[in-house]
Amino acid sequence: MDGFTYINMFETKGIEYLVIIAFLILLIPFWVILNKRAQMAKQMKKTLGTLSASILRIPQGLYYSRNHTWTHLDTSGNARVGLDDLLVHLTGEMNFRSLKNPGDRVGKGELLAEFEQQGKQLRIYSPLSGNVTEINRLLAEDPAVLNEDPYGKGWMFRIRPTDWKAETATLYFAGETADWFAKELNRFKDFLAGSMNYRSRGSSIVVLQDGGELTDHTLASLPGELWQDFQKEFLDPDRPVG
């Protein structure tokens, strides 16, 4: 500053503030569009048939058991029971066979139903105790509804629970289930790797180790022995905590 003529130290402040305003205004659509990309990536994964935790549905208000069944108490006092989205995505379409009749008593951890797919079987155990009041006829007629709408039309049983509060206290609530599904998927990948080595069967499925992608309906293309191992690892009650 020479001190003899006029100099404005803050000459460009006006333009700078305009640039800032422009930046902030542009930041909002910029951010929204970037996040849309992430959403689209999720959708793409789904359509390509890859199975990842982000595409699994976990409705609020339901209780989820470690045996991959869900239960929900409706206003009439009956609890509906069904299979969770993780399980049906792993298995693919299966045929339903109920092992209980309406009026039967069932205890928590007792065998409820059997699912079958090309000779391979899975046994489903009850997440709570009570009286079976109704069995979903739609499941027997249209097995596909199990995979399309496992929480809605694909319900399995209506049970009048005898000890709802105590038994559901140990179940997962929706908020924690997302994390648990992700962990179960990882555990499933490890299980596959372990079981493949154990059974020493060559397979043509695209299953990569360590964070690779699973295809949807992974178990559908796997042999019955793996289903038995899967049953023991993931669906049987009183299995060791994973």
């Binding site: 404005n8 130290m9 803050f10 402040k13 006006g14 503030y17 902030l24 909002i28």
Partner: protein
């Protein structure tokens, strides 16, 4: 047409007071507020000098030094809490977001509004706003604009509660979507104007006592606004907890203790950093000799008695889980912040003058009027809108 009538009638009915009218608080504050309004009228009729002790050497006194500079520091709880909840995702503090944002919003409206009382020619206040005359080179320009923008951001953050009160479902959904943007904008603005309030005094280098003047005043003000705001949250929360006991939802009651402990931890940490900042600035200034003067003792009192001591209290009460001690520490901290702000703006400003500035009783009454008016509006909102109580069911479903 029916809709407007219904809303109009609803608003009118909401204006009626709920609860007892002749509470001790009302009886004390109402006459003071009436007196304050009278004084404000005199101030506009006969000039600022008729109600204040300001002079040509001391142009800014209690109204700026306390109402604006200190009041805004205490409103800093809003940006800290929203930062913790919406940016750092610390869900534990979610239950106090609304009341803190409400407090912050009202504080800015009233204290920055009190600034209008201090303006000599308030009709020209629109000049720097509508673009008639932007003084970009001025720190005060920046502070004023940030106040305006921040009030808008806080209003947006709080507006879902208003929408829930009015039952406007769609509007509430739109406003909820804007929360994150408003929070980020608000935190950015707060960073600048909390430090900006300090930067206002940078040019008064020869007028402020060297122990309080440094180039780092803006940084000091920013850091102290963090624990000032949180202490205000603790203090105000304790009072609200007792006064509005019935309004608070069960969930919020249980969360209270955990929240207080968490806040005291954060305060202790921030004050630790602040103390060392002050130490660094002091060492850099090399004002050792000044410590042995009356102002030096005053400085030590502020630093030790009102920064170190409450910091240790926060730390100890956090370790031992003593809720009562946390409240004591919060009050001490708030006194310390008031002391610090007044030291920079009023006590340390032209400390060398023979006749020192002391606020007139009229200035104090007007300040109290502003404060009480804010509390009245705060109470009105708490009694009607879902701030301490849970939002209506349709609102939680919307998420």
């Amino acid at each position: 047409m029916n809709n407007e009538l219904a809303i109009g009638r609803f608003l009118l009915s909401e204006l009626k007071p709920k609860g007892k009218i002749l509470t001790p608080f009302n009886v004390i504050t109402f006459p003071i507020m009436i007196l304050g309004l009278a004084l404000i009228a005199i101030r506009f009729y006969k000039g600022i000098g008729s109600v204040t002790n300001l002079s040509q050497e001391i142009p800014w006194g209690l109204w700026i030094g306390f109402d604006v500079v200190t009041g805004v520091a205490f409103a800093g709880g809003a940006y800290v809490i929203t930062f913790m909840v919406y940016i750092l995702n610390m869900k534990k503090y979610h239950s106090i977001v609304r009341v803190t944002v409400l407090n912050g919003f009202l504080a800015y409206v009233f204290y920055a509004g009190a600034l209008l009382l201090d303006l000599g020619r308030p009709w020209n206040v629109i000049n720097p706003i509508i673009g008639n005359s932007f003084g970009f080179n001025s720190v005060l320009f920046l502070v004023a604009w940030h106040f305006l923008l921040y009030m808008i951001a806080q209003l947006i953050e709080f507006s879902p509660a208003i929408a829930e009160w009015l039952g406007a479902r769609r509007i509430r959904k739109i406003l909820s979507g804007m929360t994150l943007a408003a929070v980020i904008f608000g935190i950015t603005l707060s960073t600048l104007h909390q430090s900006g309030l300090g930067a206002l005094y940078l040019m008064a280098k020869d007028k402020i006592h060297p122990l309080w003047y440094s180039q780092f005043i803006p940084v000091m003000f920013l850091v102290s606004s963090i624990f000032a705001g949180l202490s205000m949250v603790i203090f105000e929360g304790s009072i609200s907890h007792r006064v509005f006991f019935s309004k608070i939802s069960e969930k919020n009651h249980l969360a209270q203790r955990g929240i207080l402990l968490g806040l005291s931890k954060i305060c202790a940490g921030t004050m630790f950093a602040y103390f060392f900042l002050q130490l660094l600035v002091f060492l850099h200034g090399k004002h050792w000799a000044l410590l042995n003067t009356p102002m030096g003792y005053w400085y030590l009192l502020e630093m030790v008695g009102f920064v170190l001591v409450p910091m240790f209290l926060f730390y100890r009460s956090y370790r031992r889980g003593q809720i009562g001690m946390i409240r004591v520490a919060a009050i001490l901290t708030m006194l310390g912040v008031i002391l610090n702000r007044l030291n920079v703006t009023v006590i340390g400003f032209r400390w060398d003058m023979a006749v020192r500035y002391v606020p007139s009783w009229m200035e104090v009454v007007v300040t109290l009027t502003v404060l009480f008016a804010e509390i009245w509006i705060f109470r009105w909102v708490i009694n009607r809108m879902p701030v301490l109580s849970d939002p209506p069911a349709w609102a939680t479903d919307q998420k």
